[in-house]
């Protein structure tokens, strides 16, 4: 399998699309290297702007460019982009309705041992709470490619979070199911539904395989579109399976689990269990170690479901 980091794929797509589309502009905040945007900066110097370590400026300048017809991608670590410049995201991007895609790179606990300053375990809650802001956490580079191409077709604000590391793909090259703002049915099942986003989708898919070996038929939904969330897919899962498990690299407050629970509670009451990061600085370790510590991997998810069923 071809492992490519989602952030690298964003650069690849933007390099391809910007050959013909000179209105595509990428901005970084001294983050071109960590964002895998060095190639873009070098190959499209006329369409790349460096703002230095100034995330508020990054987002306001992006909005100014967008108001003049540019298709802007502001790329910066998710931890700083989502909170340091939250107000600029709210006012200059969402409220002014500018064509800016905020790309939070190395999201969640990607930065591992660098600590909570560099973690963005609340960015879904932050960005989704802003009226007129869309929020996406793609699961692999193939879906990331589809998402970026799709977002280039509209002029609306969006926030995307991607991880730091190259991860195994969830989908297969050449057959990537993708409709913007529709959850992807990764695996159908009748006993339980696992709803995941971002890097947790692969873990959910592998958990479903472990569960199958134990006679449990798990459905897996890739809810890369946190907002607007695919409510129909959630309601269908609540109607057709006895238990819903949400899995996210995020705290419980305002995340995937909270949003799914709201939909289920209102439309089709059913037990929902949220697997998430804790409401405290996470344990020190690499992503995989942190995930394992909190049960956010295939084994942890499968075990939790075995306990519940």
């Amino acid at each position: 399998m071809n492992k490519i980091a989602n952030k690298q794929e964003i650069c690849n797509v933007l390099l391809e699309e910007s050959v013909a589309d000179k209105d595509i502009v990428v901005l970084c905040s001294d983050s071109r290297g960590s964002a895998s945007m060095t190639n873009f900066a070098e190959q499209r110097p006329q369409q790349f702007i460096e703002v230095g370590i100034a995330e508020q400026n990054l987002v306001s300048i992006s909005a100014g460019l967008a108001s003049c017809g540019k298709k802007v991608f502001a790329v910066s670590p998710a931890s700083f982009l989502s909170t340091r410049s939250m107000e600029q995201a709210k006012v200059d991007v969402a409220y002014s309705n500018t064509n800016v895609t905020l790309v939070g790179i190395s999201g969640g606990v990607s930065y591992g041992a660098l600590g909570m300053t560099h973690h963005s375990t609340n960015d879904i809650a932050v960005m989704a709470s802003i009226p007129n802001m869309r929020v996406y956490l793609p699961s692999d580079h193939l879906q990331t490619r589809c998402l970026i191409r799709s977002l280039l077709k509209d002029k609306l604000p969006a926030y995307i979070r991607v991880g730091r590391n190259a991860v195994d793909p969830v989908y297969e090259e050449g057959s990537v199911p993708f409709v913007l703002d529709k959850a992807v049915l990764v695996r159908d099942g009748q006993d339980v539904t696992i709803i995941a986003c971002g890097e947790m989708v692969l873990a959910a898919k592998e958990a479903a395989e472990l569960l199958a070996n134990n006679g449990i038929d798990a459905r897996v939904l890739d809810m890369y579109c946190l907002k607007p969330m695919d409510e129909a897919a959630v309601r269908k899962a609540a109607a057709e399976t006895k238990l819903l498990i949400t899995v996210e690299e995020h705290v419980k407050a305002g995340g995937l689990g909270a949003m799914v629970s709201q939909i289920v509670a209102e439309h089709h009451p059913r037990k929902v269990v949220n697997l998430s990061l804790p409401d405290e600085p996470v344990v020190t370790g690499k992503s995989a170690e942190v995930f394992a510590h909190y049960g956010l991997n295939a084994t942890g998810i499968a075990q939790k479901i075995m306990e519940l069923i």
Binding site: Q46, Q47, G52, Q56, S60, L65, S67, C68, G69, T98
Partner: protein, 275 residues
């Protein structure tokens, strides 16, 4: 409208509109409206390349009111310039109106929503960068308040404007020396504004900011300045033109009584006639 006298007369007309609007609606930031009026008049009646009937023209000049709370002044200018029917301002601040207490880009002629201080200059930097990328000659004007200069993000914008040598960008600081809690110098000192901007690579012009002739000359100088952005430190008077409001922090957002309103209109009429 090109002569100084015409512009000055217009400033008094706009001031009357502002006082009437705030009095009618019972809300507004009248002090700052009256300090920034002459800057808006110089830009909207003389310098800016804008067409009320073609507000999407890619070649248009851009304006951002970073001190968004002075929106009543902007509304009165835009209405008078024909961007929307004057009668629509009767709905200002009322239920369901798009004419809210800060700039709203659902209104014809308003580019960006502002109101939270410290955003507008960086937005202007983005606009000026877009102009450069597209090799278009349009100019970008941003008006900041002096109290606003305490926002750290302003300095990120100043830094970027200087770094990218954005000579199509002109900033104004409406230096009326008062903010809601008192004098700027008591709240957070803003002394030596000129030196601060110059240190970041900006061309600095300091003027009497309620003198349309001086504003006119400064904007001409900004247009002729190449290789760096220009800031015009406009030394203004809060509440300018209405004696009972001038230089009083309390008029940051006080609403005139009927008596005060009548007195203000009378004075503005007299000042206009004397020109």
């Amino acid at each position: 409208m090109t002569t100084g006298v015409e512009l000055k007369k217009k400033s008094y007309e706009i001031r009357k509109d502002i006082v009437s609007l705030v009095h009618h609606a019972g809300t507004g930031h009248i002090g700052g409206d009256l300090s920034v009026t002459d800057i808006l008049v110089a830009l909207y009646y003389k310098h800016m390349n804008i067409d009320p009937h073609n507000t999407e023209d890619p070649a248009r000049d851009r304006f951002v009111l970073s001190k968004g709370h002075s929106v009543e002044a902007l509304y009165c200018v835009l209405a008078d310039r024909g961007f929307f029917p004057r009668e629509e301002l009767q709905t200002y601040s009322t239920y369901g109106s798009k004419y809210i207490g800060h700039p709203n880009n659902k209104i014809n002629g308003i580019e960006m929503n502002t109101g939270s201080l410290g955003h507008g200059l960086s937005i202007g930097v983005g606009m000026a960068l877009a102009a450069r990328m597209d090799q278009k000659p349009y100019r970008v004007y941003v008006v900041l308040g002096d109290g606003e200069m305490a926002e750290g993000s302003v300095w990120e914008g100043i830094m970027a404007g200087g770094h990218y040598k954005l000579d199509q960008l002109t900033a104004f600081v409406d230096r009326n020396r008062l903010q809601i809690s008192g004098t700027t110098e008591a709240v957070m000192g803003q002394e030596r504004q000129e030196d601060r901007w110059a240190a970041f690579g900006w061309h600095v012009i300091s003027i009497e900011g309620n003198d349309v002739d001086e504003i006119d000359k400064a904007v001409e100088e900004a247009k002729a300045t190449k290789g760096r952005p220009t800031v015009i430190i406009a030394n203004t008077v809060k509440g300018c033109g209405v004696s009972l409001m001038e230089n009083k922090a309390g008029w940051h957002h006080r609403v005139p009584t009927d008596e005060e309103y009548n007195e203000a209109i009378l004075e503005l009429n007299q000042r206009g006639i004397l020109l």
